[in-house]
């Protein structure tokens, strides 16, 4: 077997580090969606294909120059990079939808009173994730591919992940407060109906008395 030179080894290391991020995102995306995201699977399939082209040369199955090896290592990285950004994009939308589904039935008052962190931290961070993570449409959308930016975007996703735990933790208090609010609202309405009822009865009685007095000859 031919050994990898320093440049090739460096690219392979980047590929391994990127795959670590990508795999974590893929597992998390499947947990959230309960479905496999096909575009990312296609990219991984292509990345594997390019990597095998490199091994075919290194194991002497065929002869190609070092440019061929480097081009295919770069292509492996690019496919994994694209899979990673496809997953980041997919996950941020799923996270927003899941958080929306969790809190949509609570009133603003309940959220403010019981869960102030929701408006102070969670909503701004979700909105920021929607703005900050770029979509991968072409090389120019992403700029210079590097692992540092991937790490930063993965941290945004991880941050939102912790919010789910907080929302679940607060869920019993939110439900309790919301129910209490609804009960108080219902009681208030019942009191109001009772007052309207009494007013109606009194008005009817007064009306009856007045008409009796008018109709009765003096």
């Amino acid at each position: 077997m031919d050994h990898f030179d320093a440049e090739e080894a460096e690219t392979l290391e980047k590929i391994a580090k990127l795959y670590n991020y990508e795999k974590g995102l893929m597992i998390y995306a499947e947990e959230l969606a309960d479905e496999s995201f096909i575009p990312a699977i296609n990219e991984i399939k292509d990345a594997f294909d390019h990597l095998m082209r490199v091994f075919s040369v290194k194991f002497g199955l065929r002869e190609r120059d070092s440019n061929y090896v480097n081009d295919n290592l770069d292509a492996t990285f690019r496919h994994l990079y694209r899979a990673t950004f496809d997953l980041l994009d997919f996950i941020r939308f799923l996270q927003k939808e899941r958080i929306y589904e969790s809190v949509k039935d609570f009133s603003r008052e309940t959220l403010v009173k019981v869960f102030p962190e929701y408006y102070n931290t969670i909503v701004p961070e979700i909105e920021s994730a929607m703005q900050k993570i770029p979509r991968y449409k072409s090389e120019k959308d992403i700029g210079n591919p590097n692992l540092e930016s991937v790490k930063g975007y993965v941290e945004i996703i991880e941050g939102t992940k912790t919010h789910f735990a907080k929302i679940n933790e607060r869920m019993p208090s939110l439900v309790d407060y919301e129910n209490r609010m609804k009960r108080e609202e219902q009681q208030k309405e019942m009191k109001q109906y009772a007052i309207y009822g009494i007013i109606a009865i009194v008005a009817a009685a007064i009306g009856a008395i007045i008409s009796y007095l008018i109709m009765t000859p003096s």
Partner: protein, 60 residues
Amino acid sequence: MTKKKDVWDIDLPQIKFNRESTKQQAQKYRMGNVKLALGRGRTREEFEKDRKRILELRLP
């Protein structure tokens, strides 16, 4: 005589996924990914529709 293209350098075809036909022909897919065999996959086209819908959601 045309030279046969090296199979190593031929790009693999993309996975074409159709939820309904996969479910109908589940037997044929039982060797692969379990989720896909059950018709549980999301295509880019489906995600594009979801993304428009979710973008319009306003968090309470």
